[in-house]
Chain length 178, copies 4
């Protein structure tokens, strides 16, 4: 999957033959299909793998006793940082989410999405957010992650500029806060 990630990032799903994935990974062509019955299965499995790793990283960043805004900030920043550190993951998700493989159901089923949506619901209860469905709030926040990461990729000198990131979190926060 690591090899596939790299190649997909470089050439896209369709520009990457399974044979090349196997070759670059130093294994035989056939064995790929022993673990993933089809290329589509591989791609879907990679989606969950990325989501899982981001989720694990995010959990490692949150701490007990944080306020709601702090928690959301931590999750938001964790996603940004993960994608900046792992641009292949970012590129993969971008492709995946605008491909026929993606569905909202799949996304919502993941714990990372569920956790974030729960925080949105809490914010709605506390009256800190605009009156918008929690899934849409989630989407808005995540699109800001996307925008931020894309901009940081184009302007790599800003990648160490924490004030910049924090500024963009405030953009996201101002968007959803009442």
């Amino acid at each position: 999957m690591a090899t596939a990630r790299k190649l997909f990032a470089q050439n896209g799903f369709y520009g990457t033959p399974t044979a090349k994935i196997a070759k670059d990974a130093g294994v035989s062509n056939g064995i790929l299909f022993h673990y993933f019955p089809t290329k589509d299965h591989l791609i879907k499995a990679m989606y969950f793998d990325v989501k899982d790793r981001i989720f694990d990283y995010s959990l490692s960043q949150v701490y007990k006793g944080a306020t709601l805004k702090e928690s959301i900030y931590t999750l938001w920043l964790a996603a940004v940082e993960w994608y900046v550190e792992n641009p292949e993951d970012f590129n993969f998700m971008l492709q995946f989410e605008s491909s026929p493989y993606y569905s909202v159901e799949t996304e919502v089923s993941h714990r990372h999405t569920q956790l974030t949506i729960e925080l949105m619901e809490k914010g709605l209860e506390q009256g800190v957010f605009k009156n918008i469905q929690p899934f849409l709030l989630f989407q808005i926040m995540m699109k800001m992650v996307e925008t931020t990461v894309q901009y940081l990729q184009l302007n790599s000198e800003l990648q160490e500029d924490f004030a910049f990131r924090n500024g963009l979190f405030e953009v996201a926060w101002d968007a959803v806060k009442k």
Copy 2:
């Protein structure tokens, strides 16, 4: 191009053979390559075509004497409306922008982008926006268009709800305003 748009929306760039485009369009396989030397040329031409049509529609909506916020609102709403009315255009752009065909240079070269960025610069001069580069402001606004259209596609009963759209414009506006 209309046939290609429909097929690309249904099956993606890679899932749509040129032969099928030609067949569905009622022309011969060969003639497609008379007008577009390669499939890539077709795709790029379609990108500019969508952009052009959105731009024309947007211009038809703005009016002299509008305030800055009104102008931006008009442009923002025109994009949302266009994509809601022409979901194939939306689907096409989504695919295009996360494909290897897309580049920032291409996007910036278009008059639609340039016009919007000029408005962002004006807002910065007037001190109504946060201190963020105009291209990034543009991106944030456009991502909110994307988010809005996607949400409207999933919840089609909201497509006639103008208050909903206006509310989401305020979300976008709050994001960027100082």
Copy 3:
């Protein structure tokens, strides 16, 4: 189809790659699938082609005013001769009829089968045949064709021995006659 016939006879359906058929036929790999959407379509088309050619040859041999036995003899002998002259056709049919492609419905639908069965029905009406369903009578006769051709292939010195063939027709005739 002629090239396919030759290769199928040598190596069987499964031992003959479509690429080899194309190459031996002096055409490109791809064009094969322009005329036959799949290898299976090619195989089925070849079945009807063989049947058609045997039928045409058989019709050219029968003559007006022949008695029932003469007519059946002519048909039987035409089949034997055709297969002896065209061993690839014979080999193809042998493979086809014991493959999943074959079905009784397909066979019965062909004019060659229908014509032969009609003669069997006439024989039943005239009381010259044993009381056996006409399709089974047809099968018995055809199996004797098969047996005869196989034996002639193994003993090629008999291929010019018309007395031998006639003798085997009498075997077939004795089998079904009352």
Copy 4:
């Protein structure tokens, strides 16, 4: 071999991967090649296995002191009955005999074939058969077995109709008798 027989009957030699045979038999993929060095060896071994079992069954049916016709009848009927009871064996033989695996030499080498041919030779000596080589007489009889079994498979309501079978033996007998 029992599992292979079932799968070959359903999907043919080429439609049945060795992996599936092993899996359905509840053993590992590799062990198959411990007992049969190649798939071809398995198929050939299965051929002899079917022949052996038919031979054993046939011998259990013949009795001392039978006339020549009775002996032949018993052998013929034993073959028909075996194949009706064991359609997978029949299907297997049909495929095998029209495959590149089959050769006359292999067939003649089997005791079942030899025994039957000996009876044909005895009949020729006694002057009850037409003047035809014994191997060809054998083939004619066996083709009638084939025809009979195929017809019984298509018309299963006839499977208990012993008069029908006997009638078809008479067809076979009339074919070869002088």
